[in-house]
Subunit: 220 residues, 2 copies
Amino acid sequence: MTTADGHRAAGGVALNEASSDTKNAPAVTDGRRVKGERRRRALIEATVRVIARDGAAGVTHRTVAREAELPTTATTYYFSSIDALLTAALTQCMEEDSARVEALAAGPGDATGKRRALALLMAEILTSPGHLLAEFELYLLAARRPEQRAATRRWKEALAAFARELTDDPVRVKLFTRAYDGLLLQALLDDEPPTADEFEDLLRELLPDAEADADGKSPG
Amino acid sequence: MTTADGHRAAGGVALNEASSDTKNAPAVTDGRRVKGERRRRALIEATVRVIARDGAAGVTHRTVAREAELPTTATTYYFSSIDALLTAALTQCMEEDSARVEALAAGPGDATGKRRALALLMAEILTSPGHLLAEFELYLLAARRPEQRAATRRWKEALAAFARELTDDPVRVKLFTRAYDGLLLQALLDDEPPTADEFEDLLRELLPDAEADADGKSPG
DNA sequence: CAACTATCGGGACTATCGTTCCACTTTCTA
DNA sequence: TAGAAAGTGGAACGATAGTCCCGATAGTTG
């Protein structure tokens, strides 16, 4: 078996560096693979930056490699195609976003505090509109391929988990899960980005405090 | 330096909003221009179909021309660049969408009826997910260029006008305006599209019927 | 009719794309 | 230390992109 061919075929779909790596644990100690993994990660991050700057159409082997300050062939070595690169970038972004929202949901504070924390996060996200724009482009890419929806499903479930911290109403949870992305998308079209206070106002309407009349849910 | 808008006359921004096919435009009596205007329109529609099928990355002079069953040079003749073609497609889409929502807002029926009508429209839109996907891709394109936001501003104002038919609360209006697109975007990522009933549930939460509120703002 | 203008469309130029090849270096294993 | 495995990167191939050129055609005007 030729060396390059075999590795390339295996590396094309290797998107996992997570816990599913149990059977190949000793390979991680290989200095060559460690360095390779670092390059692979650098390419993914460079991809997101390229999309943020020039859009998904600007993603080519050459532009990504230049952004990562690597030779052109590095992209073809670590990713079997441009598509694999975009898929990896989407998975990475959804993972990061989900982790952030999950941390907020599981973190301390009552409903009001969590709402405030999310509003602050949204405002912070909008300080780099390019990155958000890149995520939306990758998002649309996933909408075309059902096999890529594992990443977006993960994100939706993270949103739902956050909403369930603030309400028991399933319709409210569904509404929040489906409306959240729209709030950020519309903000991208504003002439000036909304403030955290504005987001907090909207979130309060979306996920209001439990009413006094039909209470039954007390914190703690 | 795209000064070569060519001899494409002043048709660059001439966006006819007429829903019916009025061909007796006062400015254009020249038979050549009439035919040309028909081609130009065919190219825009072909562009949307190409994006719906292959994404924005699939839009080239050649693919659009083939989709419209016209020679390659037709695209370069009527649009100074690919960018101009995409801009025209975005403007056209936003115009159509705005007109539909405005018709609903200005139409007959009470709040409940209008909410139901919008839910039906949303469900109908999702029967051609490709077209919706195309609109979102164009939407993101506009997010990168402030000079193109006239089209999206028009759309946002149409949404706000609809919301104001159902509520006087400015926060509610803002929330609806910013959440609506998200509802459709998330629906694209579902394994099966939501029904009109589901949308109606969400819209009822988003824009509830006016109720006597203890907050001091009472209708009447 | 002819002159003129708008439209049409085949072809070609250059640039850049995705991808592959192959010689090379580094790292691990025995 | 030898040899295999993994990674590296310059060069180039064919395909296709955007765009321009320029003659041909059709409608308008006088």
